[in-house]
């Protein structure tokens, strides 16, 4: 947030009604009525083209609203806006889905959780909860007894509501059909081998060609954000591992870093270094699983087993130090759970030596295969503009030519000090998305290689008070997760538990762009696209 001072003056000049509030990272508070014009100006004149995160908020007496984290991808400037509507019963905020495509799903999420009506949003259905759910669970006044377990099958409604505001301040509800009667709609998921969990697509087909996809998620929505509000900070750590279980280390790293930032705690070099190595090991693990699953989806089962064979080696190393295979619960506030195992360095070096030649095996069996190339090259092209607009970070964004690596954009831990290449490819098709991950495994090995011999001496757990309380304010910290930018937004009111904790899902933007990139593709392409986007469903649903 380097250039915040300049932007501060600019925004104050643009919109006098925007109030700067200093606590934490600082943000501009804008009334809902004047938010839209400010957003338009920031998007079109100042070039804030990347909506990092959109957080629905319940500020109690002050009303409901949203927090927008914006970034200008060419200059790296960041700005945080908050739009507030004091009317709790009928909160309405103008939609920005046309400025940032990624806002589409995020606004549906905020509507689902808080009941904020986004004016002008074309499809304001619930995103995660059932259509017949009563109330909005993340509001502070939500009564959980309203919704007992309902075993009736859910009716899939075929119309999308949208809200518009009249001059006198009341809303008009309009409904648009999603699919025509004549369309041949098939249902993929929630239990389907290719959706990588419980995601559901309604696919309209013409022959084998896809005309439209409607994504239904929420089948594994566990309400983690709400749960966090009733737990102390150290207790919340347990959930991040279970969000994106293939990025357990990085997720927890983000949360710990965010809390440490809010506490003003600087961790030792040793901790930074251990965290970096662990993050990269986790990334290798995740990318290997990505390759395995992609190949399995495409029918090349042998590579699936190769991937799992090599993945077990990573898990062995992780397990020796952390005690967990998949969910390590290793990072803590101000350090790590335990010092590295005495054999850690030796094992990691052995692994690096083992892994490099094995990568060629994958290239021989899969990358070079004619059928694989035929199916991946040119399918599911995501343009650079779309990638930024949707906020599709990680390997997907980098395959589209967008250098979106948080490790380079906002270096954290040891990433500023090690030498590695950010892999950026330019075609944006499935093959590039696959190659980015393959090449990133090599880069991760490079990073580990540079650090593994130079782990500095020092303490592995800083002194932290037994009861952690954060000062008032709000903070956002992002790390490069296995599949994109994983961010944590904490709003604190000075308590020992957060007032609001939001996780920027890495998968939600990826899923939101699936309709755009798979139109006019075949069903088989949808599988390849889903495989290469590499989303993890519990991370989308949270």
């Amino acid at each position: 947030m380097e250039n915040r001072i300049d932007m501060k003056e600019k925004i104050a000049a643009m919109k006098p009604s925007a109030v700067w509030s200093e606590a934490g990272d600082g943000m501009f508070r804008v009334p809902a009525t004047s938010f839209r014009s400010l957003a338009e100006k920031l998007r079109h004149e100042e070039g804030f083209d990347f909506l990092r995160s959109l957080t629905g908020m319940d500020w109690g007496e002050e009303g409901l609203g949203c927090v927008y984290h914006l970034e200008n991808t060419s200059t790296g400037e960041n700005v945080v806006l908050a739009a507030i509507d004091p009317d709790r019963e009928n909160a309405g905020i103008p939609s920005v889905h046309d400025l940032w495509k990624g806002a589409d799903f995020n606004e549906r999420e905020a509507y689902d959780f808080f009941g904020i009506k986004f004016l002008g949003h074309p499809d304001l259905r619930r995103l995660f909860l059932r259509d017949d759910w009563k109330g909005h669970p993340l509001r502070k006044d939500y009564d959980s007894s309203l919704n007992p377990l309902n075993m009736e099958n859910e009716e899939t409604s075929n119309d999308a509501p949208s809200y518009e505001m009249t001059k006198d301040g009341s809303y008009i509800l309009k409904r648009h059909p999603l699919f025509e009667d004549q369309e041949y709609v098939i249902n993929i998921g929630p239990q389907h081998p290719a959706t990588h969990g419980v995601l559901r697509f309604l696919v309209s087909l013409e022959g084998e060609t896809i005309k439209k996809i409607d994504v239904h998620s929420g089948y594994i929505h566990r309400g983690i954000e709400k749960l966090c509000e009733s737990l102390t900070y150290p207790q919340t750590l347990g959930f991040t591992d279970r969000l994106d279980y293939l990025g357990a280390m990085q997720n927890r790293h983000a949360l710990c870093a965010c809390i440490e930032k809010a506490m003003g705690l600087e961790v030792s070099e040793r901790i930074q270094c251990i965290r970096t190595i662990m993050d990269e090991l986790q990334r290798i693990d995740s990318h290997l699983l990505f390759v395995s699953c992609l190949c399995q989806d495409m029918g090349a089962l042998t590579v699936f087993f190769f991937g799992f064979r090599d993945r077990e080696k990573v898990l062995d190393i992780l397990e020796q130090t952390t005690g967990g295979r998949l969910i390590q619960t290793y990072n803590t506030i101000g350090g790590v759970q335990a010092d590295i195992h005495p054999e850690f360095v030796k094992k990691v070096k052995e692994f690096i030596k083992y892994m490099r030649p094995k990568l060629n095996e994958y290239h021989e069996v899969f990358t070079g295969n004619v059928i694989a190339r035929q199916r991946l090259i040119g399918t599911g092209v995501l343009s650079r503009e779309d990638a930024i607009s949707f906020g599709a970070t990680g390997g997907t964004g980098r395959a589209s030519g967008w250098a979106c690596d948080v490790r380079k954009r906002h270096p954290y831990a040891m990433y500023g000090k090690v030498d590695f290449k950010e892999i950026v490819l330019h075609n944006g098709d499935c093959f590039d998305r696959y190659m980015v991950r393959m090449l990133e495994i090599e880069q991760s090995l490079n990073i580990i290689e540079q650090l593994i011999d130079n782990i500095p001496e020092g303490e592995w757990q800083m002194k932290v008070k037994p009861v952690i309380k954060l000062p008032e304010g709000s903070w956002y910290t992002a790390v490069e997760g296995s599949r994109g930018e994983f961010g944590v937004y904490i709003e604190s009111r000075g308590d020992k538990s957060p007032y609001r904790m939001k996780f920027r899902s890495t998968g939600l933007p990826l899923v939101s762009c699936i309709d755009t990139i798979s139109r006019n593709a075949k069903i088989a392409d949808l599988i390849a696209i889903g495989g290469t986007l590499d989303y993890v469903v519990p991370d989308i649903d949270r």
Binding site: F128, L129, R130, P137, Y142, S144, N147, L149, N150, M151, E152, N153, E154, T156, V185, I186, N187, P190, Q191, H192, P193, G197, V198, G218, Y219, I220, H221, R222, G223, I224, K226, L227, S230, G238, F239, R242, Y245, L246, L289, F304, F305, F308, R309, E312, R325, L326, I327, V537, P538
Partner: protein, 217 residues
């Protein structure tokens, strides 16, 4: 005819933790007694069924990755004959509920279970499926799949290690071996009751006729 003790190859009987449960089942069988021919036939069928349990590829979250890991090279549940994971519930023998079941997923899971062909089994894998695990207090999580469908084996852990899953699968094998296929004992409810329930279910389901057309598999 005496029903013999159930044995799992290269595992000692004492190595299993909850033998009382199996012994209870066996005792029930022995008390009722059976004819030699039926008993022998039963033994052969149970032997076949217990060694050919095909899972449904079903996973909702973290445990699903470990479920994949037991299929993969190091742990390889193909050794037990479990590897033919079917994607269609009609062809699967047991469903491994790997991961959290939420309110939105619960009717879907029930439906999957109903779509499976008898005899079918359920394994609840991991804390979430057993009791809701770390998400027990959430507004959208079912605290335990046994509230929705009958569970045969519970595998605790978060997520359970692959070894634990294999142990759980062996427990399921033992349970299958201690059952009686012909005659319907050990089923929990009587044959007549079962028939009645099935019929009721069918009649009720007629009301959802339009659902069948929607192609939800």
């Amino acid at each position: 005819m005496m029903k013999r003790n159930v044995n799992i190859k290269s595992m000692k009987y004492e190595d299993f933790n909850d033998n009382e449960y199996i012994e209870q089942m066996l005792k029930e069988l022995r008390d009722n007694g059976t004819n030699v021919v039926v008993g022998c036939l039963d033994d052969v069928i149970e032997w076949g069924r217990s060694n050919s349990l095909w899972p449904l590829t079903f996973a909702t979250s973290c445990c699903g990755i470990e479920f994949m890991a037991i299929g993969a090279a190091r742990h390889d549940f193909a050794r037990f004959g479990f590897e033919v994971a079917r994607s269609s519930p009609r062809q699967a023998d047991f469903i491994m509920v790997a991961g959290t079941i939420t309110h939105k997923m619960a009717p879907v899971l029930k439906r999957l279970y109903d779509q499976m062909a008898d005899p079918k089994y359920v394994i609840a894998t991991g804390g979430c499926a057993i009791s809701g695990g770390p998400f027990k207090k959430s507004y959208h999580v079912v605290d335990g799949v046994d509230k929705i469908i009958p569970v045969d084996v519970y595998i605790p852990g978060c997520p359970p290690r692959p070894e634990a899953m294999l142990y759980g699968l062996m427990q399921l094998q033992r349970k299958v071996k201690a059952q009686r296929f012909l005659g319907g004992l050990n089923k929990g409810i009587s044959e007549k009751e079962y028939e009645r329930l099935m019929r009721e279910d069918t009649n009720k389901a007629e009301d959802y006729s339009e659902y069948d057309e929607s192609g939800l598999a």
